[in-house]
């Protein structure tokens, strides 16, 4: 296998470029890609996080009737941001931000999982990005991994003493990369076919997406930092609703 690998990777690079415009949504795992076993596995993994978010939502609703409209509207905003075309310098084309990192630092990671799960369902149904059987896997990679990594990084960096601008940048960047890594993991674990080819499969998928995802992550970081700065400067007071009821 070794002799062939180098060539193969090259081939994959090329193919990623060729199909680029449509692969930009490849961070959503398409309907039908995961076999039943794996689809259910990721659902099971995502559910506890979703539950955590719903508990937080209930607590917020008890303290203020504003909670549901606030979370819902931040959700709409994040949905729209995730549809915005980001220019990719490498490929001379556009992709789209994930947005869950930004959501996480604004409304907290567990609510961000809730919002992502809805956004992913709507995207599957009305934009044909992602899928229903793969919803669990997508919630896990974008919602759970993206949100918790972003929030963790943000919290940690602010705690350590970095400015929140840098923290927001890293949150956006790492949430995007985390999503990308987890998606690759999900894809390769389901597709390697049990023949021990998991390793090369994982690396190939990582590499196939690398030319778009590596710069995209950086751009998402920039976007996240700018958007967060904007909200902070304009209407930081409005974020108060989400501070009640703990940090999860």
């Amino acid at each position: 296998m070794n002799g062939k690998n180098k060539l193969l990777w090259f081939f994959l690079f090329v193919s990623a470029f060729v199909f680029f415009p449509r692969v930009s949504f490849a961070m959503h795992i398409s309907e039908g890609i995961l076999p039943l076993k794996w689809a259910l596995f990721w659902f099971v993994l995502a559910v506890p996080f979703l539950y955590l978010g719903l508990v937080r939502l209930r607590r917020l609703t008890e303290s203020s009737s504003q909670a549901i409209p606030m979370v819902g509207l931040v959700g709409s905003a994040v949905f729209i941001i995730s549809c915005m075309p980001i220019p990719i310098p490498v490929a001379g084309s556009c992709s789209h931000p994930v947005g869950s990192g930004l959501a996480a630092i604004i409304i907290g990671p567990s609510l961000s999982v809730v919002v992502s799960s809805i956004a992913l369902l709507l995207q599957a149904l009305f934009l044909a990005h992602g899928g229903l059987s793969t919803l669990g896997a997508n919630i896990f990679s974008m919602g759970v991994a993206g949100s918790f990594v972003a929030y963790g990084v943000f919290w940690l960096m602010v705690r350590v003493g970095f400015g929140w601008m840098a923290a927001a940048f890293m949150a956006g960047l790492l949430s995007d990369w985390a999503t990308y890594a987890v998606t690759s993991l999900e894809l390769s674990s389901a597709l390697h076919g049990g023949s021990g080819a998991f390793g090369p499969m994982f690396v190939s998928i990582l590499l196939a997406f690398a030319p778009t995802q590596v710069p995209l992550g950086i751009l998402e970081g920039v976007l996240c930092a700018m958007a967060y700065a904007f909200v902070r400067a304009r209407r930081f007071d409005l974020l108060g609703v989400f501070e009640k009821g703990g940090a999860t």
């Binding site: 449509r22 689809a39 509207l73 390697h192 930092a225």
Partner: protein, 260 residues
């Protein structure tokens, strides 16, 4: 523009499938999708795909719209197919010259790739059909009937409604940036997009405040009351039974559990 892609105008057109009870559609759709995903052969997903395609043509979805929806999964399928064809398997089928070297295509990989492609198409077919004949609020109502968490549903419905409102603002804001040359070159594009994202979030927060006030003025107490679902009509019941029967029959037949 991407913003324009998000349209649900077809789901409000009247047709036989649209009139069907949403609970029936959701159940049949989910059963079909999970059956496709669990299938081991090519035949069942291919059959489901052709059924879904027939359904789409029957309700008069424009071909251009359908193609638009299927382009994304097709791209993914193609890459995965190529990956499998060269990475997986042990029986060389043939080899292709590529940049002076030869890439070997494996038989098992090609078969698996084809199976995968059929699964994606079958699943997608059902998904696109379901969403083209069922308005989202009906899907949410059906989910409410099946006891999906209420908070999740409320947020989902709020999100869905206001996507259209905020989208309009966002599109206007983007156009306004564009006419002041906000999207010329990478740096300016990124700058404009960052500001736009901020604008969108601030707008949504302000909208949430105003919406909340309007909700209070109509007796909101923190929870949106759902209306009752009407009882399933006999016709809906028959449709449910019949389509589930056909699906299961097809599955058993094609997956080789009945005829060996």
């Amino acid at each position: 523009m991407t913003f324009e892609l998000f349209s649900d105008i077809f789901t409000f057109r009247d047709n036989a499938l649209r009139r069907l009870d949403p609970r029936v559609k959701v159940v049949v759709g989910l059963v079909a999708i999970f059956a496709v995903v669990s299938s081991q052969g090519v035949l069942f997903p291919a059959l489901v795909f052709s059924l879904a395609l027939m359904g789409m043509l029957l309700v008069g979805l424009p071909v251009a719209f359908m193609l638009g929806r299927f382009l994304a999964p097709l791209g993914t399928v193609l890459i995965l197919f190529l990956l499998h064809a060269v990475l997986y398997g042990w029986t060389p089928l043939f080899s292709l010259p590529l940049f002076g070297q030869r890439v070997v295509i494996m038989q098992e990989g090609v078969l698996r790739g084809m199976h995968l492609a059929c699964r994606v198409l079958g699943g997608f077919g059902i998904m696109v059909l379901l969403s083209s004949v069922t308005p989202s609020h009906q899907i949410f109502h059906a989910l409410a009937y099946f006891k999906a968490p209420k908070g999740w549903l409320e947020v989902a419905m709020m999100m869905y409604r206001y996507i259209f409102v905020i989208l309009e603002s966002a599109a206007d804001a983007m156009a306004a940036q564009r006419v002041r040359l906000g999207y010329c070159g990478l740096k300016r594009s990124l700058n404009s997009l960052g500001v736009l994202s901020g604008v969108v979030i601030v707008k949504s927060l302000e909208q949430a405040q105003r919406t909340h006030e309007a909700m209070l003025a109509r007796g909101y107490k923190g929870h949106t009351p759902f209306g009752p679902m009407p009882a399933l009509s006999p016709k809906d019941g028959w449709t449910l039974g019949l389509s589930l029967g056909v699906l299961i029959g097809l599955y058993l037949a094609t997956e080789g559990w009945v005829f060996g």
